[in-house]
């Protein structure tokens, strides 16, 4: 991993994460799904950036738009979803030395303007921005239709049941890195070893069904990281796994982040995992970003009532208090009929009648790098 990026990687690791160069800038992103009953605003005005080597966590409950955001960045929003506004600026570093031996040229690409099936997107997706999705329970069902329909979106995060692991990895590595087949196989074995697969020299020739669920997920991570991406999008990567395996996988991700200066966008609903992984956290509710802060500020000084409620609703290990869990009243609203004003107001313990149900809160800075969308903090 270290050998191929002598220059572009190592130079910035010494800086604190918020002083490093920007890698991805999301500006006022909007994604809508035009379905039969109306328009669902799955992502509505999301703004954040990710710097090199930084981990940004996105938390929220199911349906809040966190996975759609990940897919929008990679231009993989499933139909009938569409990006309807905003920008996703990707600061693309040229990966390998060009003819003059330069590696540091930066090209700014607006991902929203690209053809989702075009050549450029396919170079970036999977190679420069890799992804790992949740271990699908039925990952071995060979339901994919071969040939033309087997689009890249599927090959990227599914292991093909009919092909040896090594061959799948070699193919992927050679697609994105200028190496020979033998070198690619060597890299594949090294990666399998790094993710903790026992006897990688033998395992490289096994088929996915010969591995346990935890091992398969580790192999997926190995594949995602074998292309030496600048950024990893991890969407609930450890949700279906046991704590001991989860801890191993998080260790691997942190270690690779250190050695390769890789940025991570970590999507989860597990607050324990995000506390140990993220530098900065974005909290989403019903497609809207409600709060964004550094991890310590968010956990120790949350501002938005939703964030506060979310943090209090998880049982914590430690001396038993016997207290009831704080829970958020009511349910997530119907996305087709969102409440007026602030979308959280029907469930909000700090609800101000006549205000929260009428006015839409603005994105306000309440502290250094601490942003919140709540009327409590507006004049």
């Amino acid at each position: 991993m270290e050998t191929l990026f002598p220059e572009t990687r190592a130079t910035t690791t010494a800086l604190p994460t918020d002083a490093r160069p920007t890698l991805l800038e999301v500006r006022d992103l909007k994604v809508e799904f035009n379905i039969r009953g109306g328009v669902v605003k799955a992502v509505d005005g999301l703004t954040f950036d990710i710097r090199r080597g930084q981990t940004v966590g996105i938390i929220g409950e199911s349906g809040c738009g966190k996975s759609v955001t990940a897919r929008a960045i990679l231009r993989m929003v499933p139909k009938p979803g569409k990006i309807t506004g905003g920008e996703i600026l990707y600061y693309r570093y040229s990966r390998y030395p060009n003819k003059e031996g330069k590696t540091k040229d930066i090209e700014v690409i607006d991902m929203t303007k690209l053809d989702p099936d075009g050549e450029l997107v396919r170079q970036i997706r999977g190679g420069e921005i890799a992804m790992i999705f949740q271990e699908p329970m039925s990952s071995l069902t060979p339901v994919y239709t071969a040939g033309a329909h087997l689009n890249e979106a599927i090959t990227l995060h599914r292991l093909l049941p009919v092909k040896k692991l090594g061959d799948q990895m070699v193919e992927k590595i050679m697609q994105y890195r200028p190496v020979t087949k033998e070198e690619a196989r060597e890299i594949a074995i090294q990666m399998l070893r790094r993710v903790g697969i026992p006897k990688p020299e033998q395992r490289v020739d096994s088929y996915p069904h010969q591995l346990s669920g935890g091992q398969r997920q580790r192999v997926r991570i190995a594949i995602a990281l074998s292309t030496e991406p600048y950024m990893l999008i991890a969407d609930e990567p450890t949700t279906a796994l046991d704590v001991s395996i989860e801890a191993q996988i998080l260790d691997i991700m942190r270690e690779l982040q250190q050695t390769a200066n890789m940025a991570i966008m970590f999507i989860t609903h597990n607050l324990g995992v995000i506390a140990s992984m993220a530098d900065e956290i974005v909290v989403m509710y019903m497609g809207k970003q409600v709060e964004r802060a550094k991890v310590v500020d968010l956990f120790y000084n949350p501002k938005h009532p939703y964030t506060k409620a979310l943090l209090q609703s998880v049982p914590k290990l430690g001396p038993k208090t016997g207290a009831r869990l704080a829970s958020i009243e009511g349910m997530v609203p119907d996305p087709l009929h969102l409440p007026t004003g602030c979308v959280f107001h029907p469930r909000c313990p700090a609800f101000m009648a006549g205000k929260c149900d009428k006015l839409v809160p603005n994105w306000t800075e309440v502290g250094q790098n601490h942003w919140v969308r709540c009327l409590l903090y507006e004049e």
């Binding site: 609703s313 998880v314 290990l317 829970s327």
Partner: protein, 349 residues
């Protein structure tokens, strides 16, 4: 096991499982010859007192679900005893201990009024073609207790008790969210006024805020109906929150069982210690000292010799490779299966 009754174990035991085993045969070839066994549950002993919650934790594949299903004989256990203090089987209505594994079909059906289940998956555990009213009424119909009018009243009460409304009665499961469906499942489990509820990962499919609501509901219902729970889950924080006592399983065996406070603060089994150290804490300033367990979980069809945990245990000695440790009560109400439990100083949370 004989001295068990005298020690910390008081007499208000509702469920007493002794040496429960469930082996699944591995069949191969044309003649389906049995070539081995998956020892999914291998000598499990635990007990649940009246009105308390026993949490059963362990990693996937450790046999916790199989154990809970074997208790109610959804899987026919291979060996062991499941003693349950039953009211319905007692001629005078006074609760009496019966061994569930010795009951015939009719008696077992009767006992199932007193033991109900809540399942993990709120989508697949409800029949999509039945209305909510029918789903909750079904246990009463099966046990011949459904009476027009009176039962309907009970159903409405139950529905309101779990936080749904009477006008939800005629709706179908797909019209509800995951959390609401789990509430329907809970209402169904309570329809026959059970005494023991086997909860199999009841909140692991739910979002955190819904999970909190559901856990609070389960606790309220426990008080109101004097229920006992066997709470199977893999999330150690959830289990600590809801349980009075906790049993930790590893590869078909109970490694440790103690009160929740005691187990989390002073674990006696190295596996418990390692498991606790691996739980991610929702605190960014917490510096974890995670214990790395070598290798993977043992294969229950071909478990290691001696103590099943020894290949991954950092305290293992030669004796652990040869001799399987007995499950013993080291301190009052604190049970452990480890040769070195007395000498080790393990770290809790």
């Amino acid at each position: 096991m004989a001295e068990m009754a005298q020690n910390g174990k008081a007499d208000n035991i509702l469920l007493d499982v002794k040496g429960l085993k469930k082996y699944f045969p591995i069949q191969k070839g044309l003649l389906r010859k049995v070539v081995g066994y998956v020892k999914a549950v291998d000598d499990v002993s635990l007990y649940v007192r009246e009105g308390e919650t026993l949490g059963l934790v362990g990693e996937s594949g450790c046999g916790k679900t199989t154990a809970s299903r074997s208790i109610i004989r959804l899987y026919e256990p291979t060996a062991g005893q499941v003693l349950f203090k039953s009211r319905v089987l007692s001629p005078d209505g006074q609760p009496r201990m019966v061994n569930l594994l010795e009951l015939d079909r009719d008696q077992m059906t009767k006992v199932r009024q007193e033991i109900s289940m809540i399942f993990q998956d709120p989508i697949n555990s409800l029949n999509p073609r039945m209305t909510v009213a029918d789903i909750i009424a079904e246990p009463m119909v099966i046990h011949g207790k459904y009476e027009k009018g009176r039962s309907e009243e009970i159903i409405v009460n139950l529905l309101e008790r779990v936080g749904l409304r009477a006008d939800h009665l005629r709706r179908y499961p797909h019209e509800f969210s995951g959390g609401q469906r789990q509430r329907i499942g809970i209402a169904r489990a309570l329809a026959l006024n059970p005494r023991l509820v086997l909860c199999d990962e009841p909140v692991s499919a739910l979002d955190v805020s819904i999970q909190a609501q559901t856990l609070n509901l389960l606790q309220d219902l426990q008080k109101d109906f004097n229920l006992s729970y066997l709470f199977v889950a893999h999330d150690l924080s959830v289990v600590q929150h809801i349980s009075d006592r906790v049993a930790v399983m590893y590869v078909g065996k109970v490694a440790e069982m103690a009160s929740a406070e005691e187990l989390y603060a002073n674990p006696l089994h190295p596996y418990t210690e390692a498991l606790l150290s691996a739980v991610p804490k929702p605190d960014p300033l917490y510096k974890s000292e995670r214990i790395i367990m070598q290798g993977d979980v043992a294969d229950p069809s071909n478990p290691p010799s001696g103590c099943y945990f020894h290949p991954r245990c950092r305290y293992a000695i030669d004796r652990c490779k040869i001799e399987a440790p007995a499950f013993r009560e080291l301190k009052p109400d604190h049970w452990v299966a480890c040769h070195r439990a007395e000498e080790l100083q393990l770290k809790g949370i």
